[in-house]
Symmetry: C2
Subunit: 777 residues, 2 copies
C-alpha cells in the first residue's frame, strides 16, 4: 500500500498524507474493544472524503428494506450497524483559522497503529492562520474498561499563536448506507459543564439508548481561561482558548464514556456515563493506557504468531489477529462478529455463517473456551426465531432455519437465491457445536443447549429433502452452495453432505444426552415434542438415502447436478483482463460458467477431511481449484489448508499471501468501506491448520507442522483446553511448549508425545515426516 | 363485480357509487386512442383514493433504478410510463361548497363505458352548498383526431343556486410508482386567455416536450359573466360563475389538444396545440363525437365477436377487443403495447414479449397488416440496441438479445433471473416475423427488415448454446422459461426448442432472400459481416445437435433437466386455502415445487403444433396442465386453445372464462392498478384459435370451428389478407362470409372450400368433423 512501505512487525505505519487514501486508512487504522469501535477519522475537522464511523456493539437500526422486485418471504427490514454520536472530535483553530487537513499544508504526517498496545497515534505539522503547529494525538478504546475511550490531543506552537481547541460529543451523525437517507437517532438530552458534557441519544426505532459523557483535561499555554461551554440540542462541547509561545505545547485529554441501555437501565444512562467518565479521568491517561496495554499483552500471550524471514507475512498475520480481537472479546453472548466489524457500515447485520465457519476455529484455539461458548449461545438464543424463519418458508414441527444475515435472530437479507437457498449455513451452525465439543471436551454443552439446536436443524433437513421417485433417492432441490456463483441448483454436493452430517450428528447427540443427562433429556423431548422413536428414524432414512452427484469417470463428486454440462475450461482460460470476473462479466455469464467463487465441494473436504484419503482429496483439489477464481475473501484460506495437507507448499503459501494482506494491500480496492474481519480468521487458519497442521482428533491436539520455503522460522501460540501451547516450527524441526498443570498427549507428525508442563519438546524433522505428505496417496 | 351486475353486451355499467371500488373503476372505464389514454378519474375534485393517470404514448421517463443487491449487467434506469398533465379537470362549486364525491351525498350514480362508440359517460345527483345538482358528463379521446380529447360537463340545478365551474390544465402531477418520489416534469410555460389556455411541459430527463391547449365552450344559466382567467406556473384555468334557476342546465365543453415533440418540432408545440384545440372547437362536440364513433364502427366491423346465449362472455370479449384497440392502433412504429396500456403505471416500460406472443396474433387477424408490420419494425429499429444488450452479456459478432422490458430498445428490467435468463423472448420475436409472413404472404418483409433481425438472433443462440462433452450435445444452461416459477434452470425444453426453430428459420430466410432479392441480400451480408458459408453451417450444427430433456417412460419432453426429481404432486394436492401459491408460499418453495405459472412446454406445443400428433399433445397436456396453477394472466388462453384442439371443450371453456373476465370480475384484486391489456389478446385467441380453430397453414386460412356447450351461437370477424371474413358458428353448422375481391380457398373442418366474395358458405357439421377431434389420435 502506498505510503506504507515499511512492514513493521508490530505496527502499521502511514508516512505522508494522501487524501485519496484517507478513507482506506480510516478502515485500516480503526480501533475497537468488543464493546465499541472507531474508524480512524481525524479528531479535527476534515472537509475531504471521509467515512465517519463510530460503532457500538449490539446497537443497530432496522432500516426499511430496499428491494427491486419483492418476493414472498422477504423480511421487511435490514438491520444496520449504526454510526453513533461522534465522541473523538477536537476542533482546532489557530489564529482564527480552522485546522483542516484537506486545506492546510501538512508536513511530516505519520499515522501509526500500534498493534502490540492497541493504540492509534498520529503526528504532523500544519501551517494555518499564519503559523505552524505540531500536532500529536493518541487514541484508544480501553480493553480493560470497555465503556471508555480516550483521546489525547497535543498542539505545539512553532511560533507564538492564539490556539482554540473545542472538544465535544456530537449527535448530528448519519449512516452513509441508509436506504432512504434517514436519520437514525433522536438526541434526547444534552448537558454541558466546564470540562464535562453528557449526551443522551436514542435510536428512532427499537429504542436503544446510548449515553455519552466526557471529562476534559487541559494543560499548557499562557492565560488558559476557564473553558467556555457550548451546546445545542445535538451536541455538547467545551472551548479552550489559550496563547502559546513558540515551543509551548497545549494538551487536551478527552476521557469519554459510552454506555448503553443494553447494559444499564435506560433511565440511568446519564449518571452512569458521567460516573464512568469521571472514574476514567481520576485514574488518568497513563494508567488507563497501561491497563489497556496489559490486556493486549495477555491476548498476544496466547494468540500471537511470529514469522521470521518474511516481514510482510508477519505484519499481515498480526494485523488479522489484532482486528479479530478488537471485534469480539467473547464477554457477551448477545454479540457477534460482523463481516466488517467496527470498521465500516457495509453488509449491515452482525452475523453471517462466516462466524461459525471462519471465526470460531480461530477463537476456539486462541481464546478461552467461554468465548466460543458465547458465540454458540448466541445462536441457541435465536432458536425460536430460526423456527419462525423456517415456518415462514413453509416448514413445520419445530424445523429451524437460521438466517443468512441477522442481528437478533431475524432474517435481514433480501436476495431470494441467498436468503432462501443458501441453507448450508444451518450446517455450519451445527458443525460449530461439534467443533466446540471436540475442542473443549464440554459434552455438557449438548445437554444444556446444543441438542435443542441440533433437533431443529435435523427437522429442517428432513423436511427440506424430498424423495425423487426418478432417482429413488432423497434430493435437495433449489439451493445455493458456498459458491455463490451458482444459484438455485439441485443437489449441491456440499449442502447434501452437510445436511446428512447434521442428521447423523443430531442422532448421536440425542443418544449421548439421553445417556448422560436423562432428566434434561426428558425435558428436551417434552419441550421440542420430539417423537423419540419416529423422528430420529426419519433422520436416519434421509441421511442413508441421500443422493450425491458423482462422476465415475473422473472419480469426483460433482458440485451439483449438471456440473459436467458446463464448458470444460479452467481459470487458465480466462482472459486476465477479465479478472476478477465479478467486475467484468454479467451475472448470468458467471452463473453458467464453471467458475467457482470460493471453496464449495472443497469446503466439505475441509470439514470432513477424515472421510477422504489423500488421493481423493488430490483429485478433487486439482479439479475444483483449477476452476476457482477465489473471488471471496473466504476462499484462499480453505484452499491453503488443503494444499498444505497435500504437501503443495508453494500453492499453500501463495494462497496464504492472498488472504493475509488482503486489506493491508487493498487487493480489491474497497478497503475504504471497511476491513474483511471475518476472513481474517481464514488467514490464521492457513498458518495454524495449514502450515502447522493443527487438528483436534479424538479429543487430542494434533500437529503436522510444515514450513513455507520462504520462512526461516515461525511460531504460533494457541490454547489447548484453556492452557497455552507454543509451537515453534523451524526448517529442521519443531519445538512445542505446554503450560498446563498436567502432562498432555499431543500427536505430532503422526506420533503421540506426552508434553510435560513447562518442558519444551524438541523434535527433529523425521524422515517420514519430511516426505511430502501427498506421496502417501 | 359489485355494482356491475348487468352484463350489457356493448357497455360496462356501474350503478351506485362505491368509493372502495373507485380505483378499480378508474381502470375499467379508462379510455384511449393509441396516442393517449386516460383513466376514469373524475373531472371534479375528489379527495378519496384515486390513481390519477393521463398517459401519452411514447412519452416516458427513465427513472433511476431501485434494486436491493446490484448484479453486473443491470441497467441503470427503468423506463416509466408518465402520468402527464391533467387535462380533464373541471372543479365545481355550488353555493360556495366544493363538489367532492368523497364528501357530498350522491344519488343515482351511473358510470357507463360505451364500447361501441368509445365513450365514457357519467351521471349522478349530488347535494352540496344547500342545494341539489344533477351532473352528466361525457368524455372521449378521439380515434379520428388522436391529439384531441373532449369533456362535456353539464350541471342541472334542482333548485336556484350559484354555480362556479373552473376548467383547467394542471401540470402539478406525479407518478405513484416513482422510485424516489421525484417529480418527472418541468412546466416550461403557461398561458391563460378567456375560454382558452396553453401549458407546455418537459420531462426532467430526455427532454420530451408536451403541449396541451384547451378551448372552452360554456352555455346556460343567467348572467353568465366572461370567464375569469386563473393561472400560475403549474396550471392554467378559466372560471365560469353563473346563477342557475331550478331546472336550468349549464354545460361546459372542453376541447383539449395534447401534442408532443415526438410528432412535432418541440419549439412549435404551443402554436400546434392551440391550433389543434381551436380546430376541434370549430368542428364542435357533436361532429367530433360522430367521426370518433365512425372510426369505432370501422374497427368493430372487422374485429367484433358476437356470442349468443352467454351475456358475461359476450361483454368480456368485447371489453378485451375494445381495450386492445384503445391501446394500439398501429399508426406509429415507435409505439408498442404496455402490459397495462393506458390504464395504469405498473410494469413501466412499454414492451414485453407479450406483444409478440399474445397481441400480434390478434392484430394479425383483426387489423390491417400494416399494424403488425409496424410492431415488427419497432423491433427492427431496436436491433442495434439488442446487439449492444447482448454485448453487455459477453456475446459478440452481432449477436442480438432483445430486452425483457423496454421503451426504446434498451433493457429496463433488473431481476437477473428474468433480465439475463428469460431469453426465450428472442424466440417470440423471431416467431412473430414468421407469423406475419405466413399471414400476409409478405415475404418481402424478410428482405427489407426481417432477415437482419433473424441473423442477430441466430448468432445469439449459437453463442448461448454450449457443447456439453458429457452429453455430446449442445445445451443451454442457466435460463428461465415462460414458466417464471423456475429460475436458472438448464435445458428448458421450450427455450431449446424455440432456439433451434430460430436457427432453422434464419437459414430458411437467408436462402429465400438470397434467391428473391440478391442485391438486397448482398447488402445484408455486407452490413452484418455474415460469413455466408460458415455461420449458417454453425447454426445448423447447433440446431441438429441440441439436447432435449425427455422421459422415455412417460413419453414426454421434460420441462427442464431435473424436472422428474420434483415431488410427484399435482395442483389437486395444493390446499385450496394456499391458492394462489404466489400469495401464500415463499419464493423458494414455489421454485422447487413442480408447479407451473403459465404454459411452458405447452407453449412450444402451441407454437409448433404441426410437429406433434394429437396423442403426443394429449400426453403433454394431461401431464403439464395438471401441474399448472395458471398464475399468469397469459396462461389459461394457451391452454384453452390446446384443450379445444383436443376436443376437451369443457376444459377449454372453463379456461376461456378465466381469461376473458379477468379484469371485469377482478379475479386477482388488482384491477385498481390497471388492466391486463396484453393478456386480452389471449381471450381472443381462446375463441378464434381455440373454439374457432383458426390457423394459417401453407398460406391458407384454416378453420375448425367447435362451439362450447353453453353457447347458442357465436360469430367472429377477422381480416384475411386485409379483407373481412365473418365466421358464424352455430350448434349445427358454420357460415362463412368473405368480402374480398377474388374468390379465396379456405380449409374448413379439414376440407378446402372456395369462398365467393359476398356469397355466404353454409356448412352443416359433417359427421367426421362432429367427432371429438381427440379421437383421431
Amino acid at each position: 500500500m502506498k505510503n506504507m512501505g515499511t512492514c513493521d512487525e508490530w505496527s502499521v505505519i502511514e508516512e505522508g498524507f494522501d487524501p485519496a487514501r484517507h478513507e482506506a486508512s480510516e478502515s485500516l487504522f480503526a480501533i475497537g474493544n468488543g464493546h465499541m469501535g472507531q474508524r480512524a477519522n481525524f479528531e479535527e475537522r476534515y472537509s475531504g472524503p471521509s467515512l465517519q464511523g463510530s460503532y457500538i456493539a449490539g446497537i443497530y437500526y432496522p432500516d426499511k428494506t430496499r428491494v427491486g422486485w419483492w418476493k414472498n418471504g422477504y423480511p421487511e427490514y435490514f438491520a444496520k450497524v449504526l454510526n453513533a454520536p461522534r465522541w473523538i472530535g477536537v476542533d482546532v483553530e489557530v489564529g482564527g483559522a480552522v485546522l483542516d487537513l484537506a486545506r492546510c499544508p501538512v508536513e511530516g504526517f505519520r499515522r501509526v497503529l500500534d498493534m502490540k498496545r492497541g493504540l492509534l497515534l498520529r503526528s504532523f505539522t500544519a501551517t494555518l492562520g499564519g503559523a505552524k503547529v505540531r500536532i500529536a494525538t493518541e487514541r484508544f478504546v480501553s480493553m480493560a474498561r470497555p465503556e471508555v475511550g480516550v483521546v489525547r490531543y497535543a498542539v505545539t506552537a512553532l511560533a507564538p499563536l492564539k490556539l482554540v481547541l473545542t472538544a465535544g460529543l456530537d449527535g448530528e451523525v448519519k449512516n452513509r448506507d441508509a436506504n432512504y437517507d434517514e436519520h437514525f437517532w433522536n438526541i434526547l438530552e444534552t448537558e454541558t459543564a466546564p470540562r464535562a458534557g453528557v449526551l443522551l441519544a436514542q435510536t428512532r426505532k427499537l429504542d436503544f439508548r446510548v449515553g455519552l459523557a466526557m471529562r476534559l483535561g487541559f494543560v499548557g499555554g499562557q492565560d488558559a481561561a476557564e473553558p467556555g461551554c457550548i451546546g445545542n440540542s445535538m451536541m455538547v462541547a467545551n472551548r479552550f482558548a489559550v496563547d502559546l509561545k513558540a515551543g509551548e505545547t497545549a494538551t487536551l485529554t478527552k476521557f469519554v464514556a459510552v454506555v448503553t441501555s443494553a447494559d444499564h437501565d435506560g433511565n440511568t444512562l446519564k449518571a452512569v456515563a458521567a460516573d464512568v467518565a469521571a472514574s476514567a479521568e481520576m485514574v488518568g491517561f497513563e494508567m488507563l493506557k497501561a491497563e489497556h496495554a496489559a490486556k493486549w499483552a495477555d491476548i498476544w500471550s496466547h494468540s500471537d504468531i511470529v514469522i521470521e524471514g518474511d516481514a510482510a507475512a508477519q505484519q499481515g498475520i498480526r494485523f488479522n489477529i489484532f482486528h479479530l480481537n478488537q471485534t469480539y472479546t467473547g464477554e457477551d453472548e448477545r454479540l457477534n462478529i460482523g463481516p466488517k466489524g467496527f470498521t465500516g457500515e457495509k453488509y449491515g447485520g452482525s452475523t453471517y455463517w462466516d462466524t461459525e465457519a471462519f471465526c470460531i476455529p480461530f477463537y476456539l484455539a486462541t481464546a478461552p473456551s467461554k468465548v466460543t461458548k458465547n458465540l454458540l449461545i448466541y445462536r441457541y438464543k435465536h432458536l425460536d426465531k430460526a423456527i419462525d424463519n423456517a415456518a415462514k418458508l413453509g416448514f413445520r414441527n419445530g424445523a429451524a432455519l437460521y438466517p443468512m444475515v441477522t442481528m437478533n435472530g431475524e432474517e435481514c437479507h433480501n436476495e431470494w437465491e441467498i436468503t432462501f437457498e443458501e441453507i448450508h449455513r444451518n450446517g455450519a451452525i451445527a458443525f460449530a457445536i461439534h467443533n466446540y465439543v471436540r475442542h473443549t471436551g464440554d459434552t455438557g454443552y449438548l445437554a444444556d443447549y446444543g441438542l435443542e439446536v441440533l433437533i431443529g436443524i435435523a427437522r429442517f433437513w428432513t423436511q427440506r429433502a424430498t424423495f425423487s421417485p426418478d432417482k429413488g433417492k432423497y434430493v435437495i432441490l433449489g439451493v445455493t452452495g458456498p459458491n455463490e456463483y451458482e444459484n438455485n441448483v439441485n443437489n449441491n454436493w456440499y449442502t447434501n453432505t452437510v445436511a446428512c452430517w447434521c442428521l447423523d450428528y443430531a442422532r448421536e447427540a440425542l443418544a449421548l444426552v439421553e445417556k448422560s443427562s436423562p432428566r434434561r433429556f426428558a425435558e428436551i423431548v417434552a419441550k421440542t415434542r420430539l417423537d423419540r422413536a419416529g423422528e430420529p428414524a426419519a433422520w436416519a432414512a434421509v441421511s442413508a438415502g441421500m443422493y450425491f452427484p458423482y462422476d465415475p469417470q473422473r472419480r469426483i463428486f460433482l458440485q451439483q447436478d449438471g456440473y459436467l454440462d458446463k464448458e470444460p475450461v479452467t481459470t487458465a482460460d480466462i482472459d486476465p483482463a477479465e479478472r476478477p470476473i465479478n467486475q467484468h462479466w454479467s451475472w448470468d455469464r458467471i452463473l453458467r460458467s464453471p467458475f467457482i467463487k470460493q471453496a464449495d465441494t472443497l469446503q466439505g473436504f475441509y470439514l470432513f477431511e477424515e472421510r477422504y484419503d489423500l488421493a481423493a482429496l488430490k483429485r478433487h483439489f486439482d479439479y475444483y481449484e483449477a476452476r476457482c477464481v477465489h473471488e471471496s475473501s473466504l476462499s484462499p484460506c480453505i484452499h491453503a489448508v488443503l494444499a498444505a495437507r497435500l504437501g503443495m507448499m508453494d500453492k499453500a503459501y501463495a494462497l496464504y499471501l492472498r488472504t493475509s494482506r488482503l486489506d493491508l494491500d487493498d487487493y480489491n480496492h474497497e478497503v475504504d468501506e471497511g476491513l474483511h474481519i471475518t476472513s481474517m480468521g481464514g488467514s490464521w487458519l492457513a498458518i495454524v491448520e495449514g502450515f502447522g497442521g493443527k487438528r483436534v482428533q479424538d479429543g487430542k491436539l494434533v500437529l503436522n507442522p510444515q514450513i513455507p520455503p520462504a520462512w526461516k522460522r515461525y511460531a504460533f501460540r494457541i490454547l489447548w483446553r484453556d492452557r497455552p501451547v507454543e509451537v515453534t516450527v523451524g526448517r529442521d524441526g519443531v519445538e512445542v511448549l505446554y503450560a498446563g498443570p498436567q502432562p498432555v498427549t499431543v500427536s505430532i507428525w503422526g506420533k503421540d508425545h506426552v508434553l510435560q508442563p513447562g518442558r519444551p519438546l524438541l523434535l527433529r524433522r523425521a524422515e517420514a515426516a519430511a516426505k511430502p505428505v501427498a506421496e502417501k496417496a
